[in-house]
Symmetry: D2
């Protein structure tokens, strides 16, 4: 008999009934046990922390329970029971039951949500707020029962037509106020549920055409909005991180939070570089023409690394495909950057990933999450080997060793002028010789850790 999370009122949604187990690399699937973790041994220590805490996986609500399997040319394909006809709050509760059942089956420690994913919007913001508080109570109880925690919450400021021209950057200040009120609700709920972070993704904070846009005004509006959120965070005592999620475009033509470097300039301009960090997504990086590793390394260098949306895009397609990660060397290189920079901290690895529209079996949700978790765990072990071996880091240190010398330090400390340096070149007849950068050897070195 299947496990029934609803206390007998409705059939279990998934064919999987028991939580997936760790069986080690030699596991062989069978009809009885078609899947077990080969690498994700959650209590195994990796660089002094458990795998679970190094990875801090989260399942996201929107793709897995909200999205119905549509695409720009296609109707819903999934036919989730809670998307059919029904009383909205009952549907939301049904959805929550299935969600927590998935968390249980794949054994994920965290989840993430938008307000709109979890509760019916009702006819007004007040009604939405009421629904949200009610779901919040259900969540609190389920979280207590299961030990699952909230990685982050966020407010959906992009789907409703009122936000079609932006939320913070809307030409109408009333929309700004409406968005502010909505964020206040979700920030407070996130705080109450013990969320580790609060995320802002500015999906409509940009423009469709410069012809009708006052870019300078919009940047000022966006800066003020973000300051308001930070001020309120401190007021209510929320200790989580405030995170911006960069993305260059889609749905709009241009979004201001394009990539890590752009977000950093914006934060500095508004005095927020110590208050706000970034939630980096692989697919968003790709759309911005950046590698995931680059964005992670850049955020660390600038001191604003916060968390990860762990998915993958298709390099040959120009939109956000949000696929589950599956390329071992790529994920390993990303996690190597994370570990090298000190780890994921308060952040986590949120699977902002969706099933392919044709994966219409309920169990596809289980398979997708579990296989992605196992792949990330395998990649973490590769990254651990890269760090522990240390050959890569030694190579880099030796390459820049000159800068640790007296001359190098004097330059960076501001003790040399352009004239000093020119004189030095002339007097010493400097004619520096390049050295091989050995990229092919280093790429091979990385592969040797697989």
């Amino acid at each position: 008999m299947r496990h029934d999370p609803t206390g007998g009122q409705r059939p279990a949604y998934f064919g999987f009934q028991q939580p997936l187990a760790y069986r080690g690399p030699a596991f062989v699937p069978s009809a009885r046990e078609p899947f077990a973790y080969r690498h994700y041994d959650k209590n195994r220590l990796v660089l002094g922390k458990s795998m679970q805490e190094q990875l801090r996986f989260a399942v996201c609500y929107w793709h897995s329970f909200g999205w119905a399997g549509t695409d720009p040319f296609g109707d819903p394909s999934f036919e989730r029971p809670w998307h059919g006809a029904g009383e909205p709050m009952a549907q939301a509760l049904h959805k929550a039951d299935v969600a927590f059942d998935l968390f249980r089956l794949v054994d994920t420690p965290y989840f993430t949500f938008h307000d709109r994913d979890v509760a019916p919007e009702g006819a007004s913001l007040a009604e939405f707020h009421t629904n949200l508080r009610r779901i919040g109570e259900v969540f609190a109880r389920k979280m207590q029962d299961t030990g699952v925690r909230l990685l982050w919450g966020t407010a959906n400021l992009f789907s409703h037509r009122r936000y079609m021209a932006g939320a913070a950057t809307n030409p109408d200040p009333e929309v700004f106020s409406y968005a502010a009120a909505q964020v206040k609700n979700v920030l407070e709920l996130t705080h109450e549920l013990g969320g580790a972070n609060y995320v802002l993704w500015g999906g409509r904070e940009g423009y469709e055409t410069l012809l009708n846009t006052d870019l300078k005004r919009e940047l000022a509006q966006l800066g003020r909005f973000l300051q308001l959120v930070v001020e309120h965070k401190h007021k209510i005592g929320f200790k989580g991180q405030i995170l911006i999620e960069p993305k260059p475009a889609e749905p709009t033509k241009h979004q201001y939070d394009r990539d890590v470097a752009a977000v950093f300039g914006f934060l500095r301009e508004h005095g927020l570089e110590h208050e706000v960090k970034v939630n980096i997504e692989q697919n968003h990086a790709l759309l911005a023409g950046q590698t995931f590793e680059h964005e992670i390394a850049m955020a660390q260098a600038l001191g604003i690394f916060g968390s990860l949306d762990m998915n993958r895009g298709d390099e040959l397609l120009g939109w956000d495909t949000d696929q589950f990660p599956n390329n071992l060397p790529q994920v390993a290189l990303s996690l190597y950057e994370v570990l090298k920079g000190g780890g994921i901290g308060q952040g986590g690895l949120n699977f902002d990933a969706k099933l392919r529209r044709q994966s219409i079996d309920p169990d596809d949700l289980v398979w997708a999450h579990a296989t992605a978790m196992d792949l990330c765990a395998q990649a973490l072990l590769v990254a651990e080997r890269m760090l522990q071996d240390g050959a890569l880091q030694r190579h880099v240190q030796q390459r820049y060793a000159g800068w640790d010398g007296e001359a190098g330090r004097a330059i960076l400390n501001g003790e040399r002028s352009l004239e000093d340096l020119a004189r030095d070149v002339a007097e010493r007849g400097l004619d520096p010789r390049p050295r091989s950068a050995q990229q092919e050897r280093l790429e091979h070195l990385v592969n040797s850790y697989l």
Copy 2:
């Protein structure tokens, strides 16, 4: 008989002999006069300034006189006489004669150069410097004779193999020093020649692979380098602008000066946002996934708009094609942004554009520049009409009018908290209604000015 700029020593390079004239829109080409300006009437007043001063055209040395018509799969196609066998300084003088003859023929008020474009590098930096000073004297005389001025100078810190791993961001501090000495030379020459700007393009200031790169160190090195240049500028009393030229990649995998937003963050981090501006190129913007208009508007909004490299890329190709501009509506929209933001100022429109490799006739150089100048002039007149009519600007002002009201101002002035706004939404039962953004109508409005 052809005009001979060399005083009889060598044949004229171009078939055109007389400077191209302005003949007005009704001009009809003939065998005697195959080209005349239809729109570029340099003394015509546009918004209170002469066309010449609104546009400040410059011919660039590298593409037009330095480049031999190679591509990654092709040998030189141009066979310029100064690229054949010969004594390097004599070749450089030959090149300079032809260059100033082109300036005369198309009547361009400015030119631009890298050190390496104009003078032989010789066997050492000292020798290069000597050659450069000697060419500088030739330039000074020619500039005096012709009235042509220097829009900007720059040092080539990317072609020689010593810079293969970067100049300022090189792992070897001796390369940093070498680059510093080279910049000092060119900055001083630019100053002496009365240059209006000095440009830094960080073609190698990036990386090929993160595996051998210490990104944080490199950013610090780049910041210090730029500070050194600014300090020296002030020391020698150079009044021109220091400009960074954003580009995301090519030749390297990743360049730090990716786009305007990235450069701004970098400048703020190093305290240079009031000292350094940007030289924006259409093709570089395109490679960064940005429109030219966006980059111009963003630079103006951030207060770092400096100058333009006026060319065009091919949207379907992934490299810097550096074609001459030729799409009237696109150029008009760019110049509209420039004029709306107060004009080109100390900057100019530098044709960082090259002939197609198959355009091997000397006169193709004349045609390419003259037709591009005329197109820009025509676009300027369109932009003038857009501004003078004012319909676009009125539309934008009305769209954001709410922000000029009391509530909007209070939000931006910091007089409202998140709670205030939430209370306001609740008390007034706000449910803002979106208005049409009318993009299609505005696009038609723009076309109506053509």
Copy 3:
């Protein structure tokens, strides 16, 4: 009082009441007449045909009346009355009334539709068919009343979840049969309505991953499907063209009908190169990395040019934005290719273009179509000048003149072997000299016709 197309039963949907008039280039908008055609003078002769017949504009049903203003991150924004609650067939009739009112207002001679755009699907294919026939009768009457004709019909084989893995290329032959039945219905309706063409767009005829795909089987299925359609066309005596619409991806990862060259190979493989032509879309060409002009010229060279979907994509975005055309030089170059190849023939210029999601006023539909029609008319006049002047064509003929000589003809006629040519090179000591390809001059020449 507004015009009421419903005979008084419901209010007019558009603010515009009178059909838009042609007023010539000097037209100045006013509050009373905010828009009139400046260039689209439908009876003006262009190269021996009326403008109306040279352009054969069509309004498409799906974007303008079916689409509700959603995007992948956004809810409906348009709130068309026929999208609200209501009896499906009544909604469909309401939609048809508004559609024909738009045709009347902008004075478009043609329209296009998918089955699903115009009639409710009902609970079965039989019911769908019945609904479709009923709407067909309504259309027939309205077409008779207004003179508006059908440019093409098509069956939607991509939205319903049954087609999620393809229609003709589905792994399940029952889906193939279902699709065949659906096409039969629409092809016959198109025939009865006097449609000039029937279109197949293979939006799902491709794959998401090769891992679950038998590419060779799917190509065979697709070939047979197309043959079936052609066979049925002849059986029922339909004289319209059968058109394939190339697109490389979106919604799927890969679509077989990638671009004109790929479609041609497929047609030849299945013996259909004289039976089927292509309907080329600007935005699809762009997504395939091709220019619109290239696809037109290639289709003409291969003898399969059929019709155009006239829209524009955004070169910086990676999805089908389907914007209304608005760049005069680009549209002029496309129409130049069309005219040069003999004109649009039985095809037409279908505005497969949609409003921006923020253009929520009913009148935005009028503005978008009317301004696009006027732009195309203006571009047609430019293309006419290019052809009549003939300078471009003369340039091309002279460039290839060598191939019209004896030696050139002998090569192409198969009268020379590789040995013959090698001997000729040796004996004559051939060392051919390249000539300038004059691209910049030709681009200027094109601009001079604007």
Copy 4:
């Protein structure tokens, strides 16, 4: 003491002296033996053939010995001795010695070349031919001595300025003849050296702008050229494959041999689909918006799969980076397609890959090739497991099983009309239900073979 391939006349170029050995997966590098093959055990049987014969690796001459380390913004960085001043034929012999020493060190069974890579062009085609024959004799002797064979030869029809407007597609028939003579020379040399294939890459067979191009003429010229080559192949009795190498652009704006599907259509049009096959390159596929696996599978489905250029591009850069392959899962999926389709046959895996410009040590050439060979061998073993296990293939067969039934076969055999199918749908009330396509599970299955 180093091995000296020159018989004592000059120092060995590489630091490596002994051919690299196979040591198995447990190999640990040391100062004495920094590299050994962990996977490339050339005589190991894989699916009934030796690894060496399954992979048929080739080193290419142009990138590894011809290219000097330039890029569009950079001077040569490599300083190969044979690129300095010197007598051209002596330099060519020096280059050949080093090339064959590299083949020996990495133990590659094949090499590939363009005429221009190996012999000086001299002052005329006759002189070039003489030089080529002389080098051919040197090659023949070295090949006999070492057992290294020729995978393919090709003529460079794109670097010299005479080919700037194309070779076969040149507007000047004399250039066509010149190219024909050049191909004749190289095809015959390839034949005499026992080459397994002859390749044509149409790097200039396309256009820069349609404005000066007669596309239809050029396609006819290209078709005739290819027929001439095939006719000559048969005349001289060459048994190798004639291969076209698709690429969409670069150096030109558009190349006719865009991708496999485009080449197939072209071959069919000219009656060459049984005479000519394709040499597919990963980076070219990428530039065409295709995956490597797709192009392989498509070529197999169309019966024109020939050989592979095994390299990798950078998905975020828009030009041909030609990097050595290094992503294990990607290479495994490509080789899985190759094996599934029957193997590489007469083709091979040619490393059309170049060092990064900063890899300036001679030994970087050894490292790059050896590590790429080992990665491909590792990937081959993964692909072997995928095939032998058979789970993927079974999944695909089951998915399409309906087409093996009577109804499916009848459709494909042409025994059903559109009417038959429509009647069948109606009578049986067909309403096919979709099944999950299980993409995530299949991706996990692939990873489980790593």
